[in-house]
């Protein structure tokens, strides 16, 4: 899990760097295409990460000496 969140951050940072380099106008068309391809993959990856997890609200409960998680809804 921890590595996954790091992946997301690194991917987003990399994507930002790619876009900035591309906008600098210092790249050749070939480099631009390479950046674009890499960037497109990162966009897919990052968007995927945002939707990867499903909502789950749980509470730890002790059952027979062991902790288990069960659904939790806060009282109003």
């Amino acid at each position: 899990m921890a590595e996954k969140t790091v992946d997301f951050e690194k991917s987003l940072e990399r994507l930002e760097a790619l876009v900035e380099e591309m906008e600098s106008g210092d790249l050749s068309l070939e480099q631009m295409i390479k950046h674009f391809e890499e960037g497109s993959k990162l966009v897919t990856l990052c968007s995927g990460k945002l939707n990867e997890v499903e909502q789950k609200i749980e509470k730890l409960v002790k059952k027979g000496g062991a902790l288990t998680a069960e659904p939790f809804k806060p009282e109003e």
Binding site: M1, F36, G39, Q55, E58, F72
Partner: protein
């Protein structure tokens, strides 16, 4: 006298005594030792506070003793704050305790400052120790009370910002005896799991006693030891606890902790979409720029090619012209040279002929001088056999051989008639 007597009922007496005590003494701090402590199932505490010389009955009701931050027991020296009063049904004088501190530990404020200084000296609050919060946590552990506003606020804000998010509540009591140990244990437990990216540890507002668990060393150390980043969210904005100093991030309230914990999903989506658009846009832009430059390139290229072609053409023309001239020249030269050569050749031939003629003549003279024919002029003759052999010896001839005799002028053929000895 009889008719002036004021007769109290016992109840009246006790009520009056209670008023007198409550108004006359009021609320006071008293230091003493706990003895005969009983904790009723109702939650109220009853004990005797005593010192070497005296004792007084004490009652501490549930709503007040919940805030006691340590475990009182017989023999423990405490400092209590309460109202002198009287239990009317039994006429017993007592103290109604509102606050209780451990004697010798100083006030809570003093304890707070002391622990803060100690942990600061250990470096537990140093900025280098603070772990960065993950940008996109997938599951958040929340250590707080399962009831109350704090957990509700946290869940509301978290799910509003990021609808699909894992939340795991570790329910704990957040005040009273043993609260700090329980919170610390929950933090330690969450650290044994591998699915928690971030923790929120906190509770809603309250008095300094209510928040005291978050000023305890055991909890401070558990937060400091946490591998998972911790956001502390204790009480209101103005409340600062030791936990706040140790945590990686201090949030002023539980709701604020939730705001700090996760990004707004829609904003993230927008940010990614914007980056995607810039990504495509910059490439498109570059292609556009290049496309605009193509006619220019083409022109330049055409120009260069034409130029090159023209130059080559020119060179070819020039070469062919040169070649033609050369050929013509060569032919002219040859033509011009030809009569000369003829002359020379004729000349050479003529002179060669003349020379030959002269040498022939010379040879003729020489030859004539050497020739036997010249001898013939002087009266000699030359005799040869029929096959031209010069006859020097008569012995080689026999009768009937034909001889050819040459004179200075003319030749005769004769036959051998006879040989003379």
């Amino acid at each position: 006298m009889e008719e002036n007597r004021k007769i109290y009922s016992v109840a009246e007496l006790n009520r009056t005594a209670r008023y007198t005590l409550e108004n006359g003494i009021g609320e006071v701090w008293v230091e003493g030792e706990i003895s005969r402590l009983t904790r009723q199932s109702s939650g109220h505490w009853y004990f005797t506070l005593k010192d070497e010389a005296a004792a007084v009955s004490c009652a501490m009701f549930k709503q007040n003793n919940a805030a006691v931050v340590f475990e009182p027991k017989d023999g423990l020296k405490v400092r209590v704050f309460g109202q002198a009063s009287l239990y009317e049904p039994r006429g017993s004088y007592q103290l109604i305790i509102r606050k209780m501190e451990e004697a010798g530990k100083g006030s809570l404020q003093e304890q707070f400052e002391k622990l803060k200084a100690k942990l600061a000296a250990e470096g537990l609050f140093d900025a280098e120790r603070k772990k960065p919060l993950p940008l996109l946590p997938q599951k958040i552990g929340v250590v707080t009370s399962p009831t109350g506003a704090a957990i509700r606020d946290i869940i509301n804000v978290l799910t509003r910002r990021f609808p699909n998010l894992g939340i795991l509540l570790a329910p704990v009591t957040v005040q009273g005896e043993g609260a700090a140990e329980k919170i610390a244990a929950a933090i330690e437990y969450l650290n044994t799991r591998d699915d928690i990216d971030l923790m929120i540890v906190g509770r809603g507002g309250g008095s300094i006693e209510d928040l005291w668990a978050f000023n305890e060393e055991v909890l401070a150390r558990a937060i400091a030891a946490s591998r998972i980043p911790v956001i502390s969210a204790v009480g209101h904005e103005i409340d600062f606890t030791i936990s706040d100093f140790v945590a990686d991030v201090r949030a002023p309230t539980p709701s604020a902790a939730a705001e700090l914990a996760v990004p707004v999903k829609a904003e993230m989506e927008t940010q990614i979409a914007r980056l995607a658009a810039r990504l495509g846009g910059s490439l498109q832009n570059q292609v556009h720029i290049l496309r605009e430059r193509i006619p220019g390139f083409r022109q330049t290229m055409n120009h260069a090619l034409m130029n090159d072609l023209r130059q080559r053409q020119q060179k070819v023309d020039e070469t062919s012209r040169t070649l033609a001239t050369c050929l013509k020249n060569a032919v002219t030269v040859q033509k011009q040279r030809l009569p000369g050569l003829q002359q020379t050749m004729i000349h050479r031939l003529e002179s060669a002929v003349t020379e030959k003629r002269q040498s022939v003549r010379r040879l003729e003279v020489q030859l004539r001088a050497l020739s036997p024919l010249a001898v013939l002029d002087r009266g000699y003759s030359l005799t040869q056999t029929a096959d031209g052999e010069v006859v020097r010896d008569a012995d080689r001839l026999k009768k009937g051989d034909m001889l050819k005799t040459r004179f200075a002028k003319g030749t005769v053929i004769s036959e051998v008639k006879k040989k003379e000895a």
